[in-house]
């Protein structure tokens, strides 16, 4: 039997692998992802069945499984689905009797199988490896009605979009009324449907377009991203803007997130010693925000019984550009401020958000008796 398969759209899941196809109701979505991994990896019917029932049979009211072997085909149905199996020895309808776990057949010489889940639509979309939402699935040469050409349904959802162009032929036709009126009723059904059942064939109906067999990984060209739109008409993704999320402090070059050699050592009055090889955040209960997994800041918590120190009070990080090799301190808008005493200079109050280069011997006073001495590493 050829493994040529087709489906009609619906709300059941079809998980289609090389050897095994599993059909599950829409409520069983929890099982779908795991089954897809198995089916895609080329698992055998037994392995898939094992995974299928691992969550217990009581929660699996309806399921159908079709496994193509070398010379025989195995069909399992439980609950609502029925399978019509045509073989060289005649046609048989497989359905589970109420009160049994499932009905199972091993049939040789199969010519076609039609599994009916909900409804009885014409299975005229090509079913390929992957996951589809289906109501009917057919394998092999259809016994009854000749299958519609695959391209036909593909055009359908596209056609109204073209028709929806406000003026398809205004140039040759001086009076546009008949043209303008006609497309509207045609376009309406395509847009009135909020859930894109009709759009499904767009995903599956064009096997001729790309003959790459499933399993090969074509390079995804950039233009595909532009087409990365949600068919629900809601969330879509655009290209990331990587440089945007870390605006530099004004007047300050972007610093590397982590440096190989610490630029300074911070000796806290509490006894802590912290190396400045990345951003250091100091406060009563410091919060680190919007960092990447590879540049997690050092967070130093200092006690402040008088509440003179803010929760995230001060940032000290390796400098860049002209400040390369030294540590840079920035008061993060603390309530009571930070006093910096550089060797040989008058103590000064740091201005919130303004970065100051620290020289060895500098002392930062955060209040509540907490000071930080800056030394060479």
């Amino acid at each position: 039997m050829s493994t040529d398969a087709r489906f009609a759209t619906g709300d059941w899941y079809a998980v289609v692998g090389d050897h095994v196809t599993v059909l599950l109701p829409g409520s069983q979505r929890d099982r779908v992802a795991a089954l897809w991994d198995l089916a895609d990896a080329g698992a055998t019917a037994d392995a898939v069945l094992d995974a299928l029932v691992s969550g217990g049979l009581s929660t699996l009211d309806h399921v159908a499984l079709v496994a193509h072997g070398d010379d025989s085909t195995r069909v399992i149905v439980r609950g609502a689905p029925t399978a019509t199996v045509a073989s060289t020895s005649g046609e048989e309808i497989v359905s589970a009797t109420a009160g049994t776990a499932w009905a199972e057949r091993l049939v040789t010489g199969v010519t076609s199988i039609r599994v009916t889940l909900t409804g009885d639509g014409a299975a005229d979309h090509a079913l390929t490896a992957g996951i589809a939402r289906v109501s009917v699935v057919e394998f092999g040469t259809p016994s009854a009605a000749p299958s519609a050409p695959v391209e036909e349904p593909v055009e359908e959802p596209v056609a109204p979009v073209v028709a929806a162009e406000p003026d398809p032929e205004p140039e040759p036709q001086p009076e546009p009324e008949p043209v303008a009126v006609e497309p509207e009723p045609e376009a309406a059904p395509a847009y009135a449907e909020p859930e894109p059942v009709a759009a499904a064939p767009m995903s599956f109906g064009e096997p001729e377009e790309d003959p790459t067999p499933t399993g090969e990984t074509p390079v995804v060209e950039a233009p595909v991203v532009d087409d990365w739109s949600d068919r629900d008409g809601q969330t879509v993704t655009g290209p990331p803007v990587p440089d945007f999320d870390r605006p530099p402090i004004p007047g300050q070059e972007m610093a590397p997130e982590v440096v190989s050699q610490p630029v300074a050592s911070l000796v806290f009055s509490t006894g802590d010693v912290v190396l400045v090889d990345r951003t250091v955040l100091v406060g009563r209960a410091p919060e680190a925000r919007r960092f990447a997994s590879h540049d997690q800041p050092h967070v130093v918590t200092v006690a402040s019984p008088q509440q003179e120190i803010s929760s995230t009070h001060l940032e000290i990080r390796p400098g860049a550009g002209a400040d390369h090799g030294s540590a840079i301190a920035t008061d993060l808008g603390s309530t009571n401020g930070t006093v910096l005493a550089q060797p040989g200079l008058e103590p000064e109050e740091l201005k919130a958000g303004i970065a100051v280069s620290l020289i060895p011997g500098a002392v930062l006073d955060l209040g509540d008796g907490v000071t930080i001495q800056v030394t060479n590493p």
Binding site: A34, D227, T235, P239, P247, R290, F291, P297
Partner: protein
């Protein structure tokens, strides 16, 4: 890590318009995840479920002292699975895609101190209640957020902006992923909310704050948030997880005992 007692509740609803709930969530303390799948037919729901499955796997072997690293690894594994899944379909159909947002909250051990490590990709959100008011922790990876950051539009204009659903980072994106991480002290979070944009897009922050402030049980609070989003129109799948840290005594905001002692000693008192 000190054992922290967490109370939590979660709720999810398909809404009134969609036929498929593409949101998935995970409650496996101390790991919490909300993922909002995109891609319409049979893509988004599977993608968000893949993220949840990977974090479920993480929860089984979770080591709080390696939190950030493990969460980043889990994101990478979920990304690889979604890309594979997408490629298998794209081989047949160029332009086919599956993607999902994700917000994650885990407890981590930061040099012996338990903290919240939060992570975000996309426009699902993390909020906290602190000192009785609602604060958004995560920063959306969206076009409108970037316009807000650049000062080109206001937050009010963003709610009706035509590109408000365009996100700039997501799992499944061919450019790779770049999650934002946040590290917060346990005591700075009285209540944590993870939710999909089906909640935040339907109800105002004020209403979220009122519900989180007035409903004591986190299970009821999560239910109320999702029901409010559905009642407001339910245009998208709505999912919420509410987490409370219980039995945690906040540091005294004012050390009165110490000041009393200091005063008594200065006055030559009864010490």
């Amino acid at each position: 890590m000190r054992n922290v007692d967490l109370h939590h509740g979660a709720s999810s609803d398909v809404g009134l318009v969609r036929k498929v709930n593409e949101d998935s969530y995970l409650v496996a303390p101390p790991v919490f995840v909300v993922a909002d799948g995109m891609g319409g037919h049979s893509g988004g729901d599977v993608a968000s479920q893949m993220v949840v499955e990977e974090f479920q796997r993480l929860a089984a072997v979770y080591d709080p002292s390696r939190g950030a690293e493990q969460v980043a690894d889990t994101f990478a594994r979920a990304q690889a699975r979604i890309i594979d899944f997408g490629n298998a379909h794209r081989a047949m159909t160029p332009g086919w895609h599956a993607g999902t947002t994700a917000v994650v909250a885990v407890l981590v051990d930061d040099n012996g101190v338990t903290k919240w490590l939060l992570a975000n990709l996309g426009d699902s959100r993390i909020y906290r209640i602190t000192d009785g008011s609602l604060e958004q922790i995560s920063v959306d990876h969206s076009v409108v957020q970037e316009l807000i950051d650049a000062g080109q539009i206001t937050v009010e204009e963003a709610a009706t902006h035509p590109e408000r659903h365009v996100i700039t980072r997501a799992l499944g994106s061919p450019e790779g992923i770049q999650p934002d991480f946040f590290l917060l002290p346990l005591g700075s979070v009285e209540r944590l909310l993870l939710c999909s944009d089906g909640v935040t897009g339907m109800i105002e922050d004020k209403e979220i704050e009122d519900i989180l402030e007035s409903v004591a049980d986190p299970r009821d609070a999560a239910d109320r948030l999702v029901r409010a989003a559905v009642a407001a129109g339910g245009r998208d799948n709505a999912t919420a997880i509410v987490v409370d840290v219980v039995g945690l005594v906040k540091d005294a905001t004012y050390d009165s005992q110490r000041q009393l002692e200091s005063l008594e000693s200065k006055l030559g008192g009864r010490l």
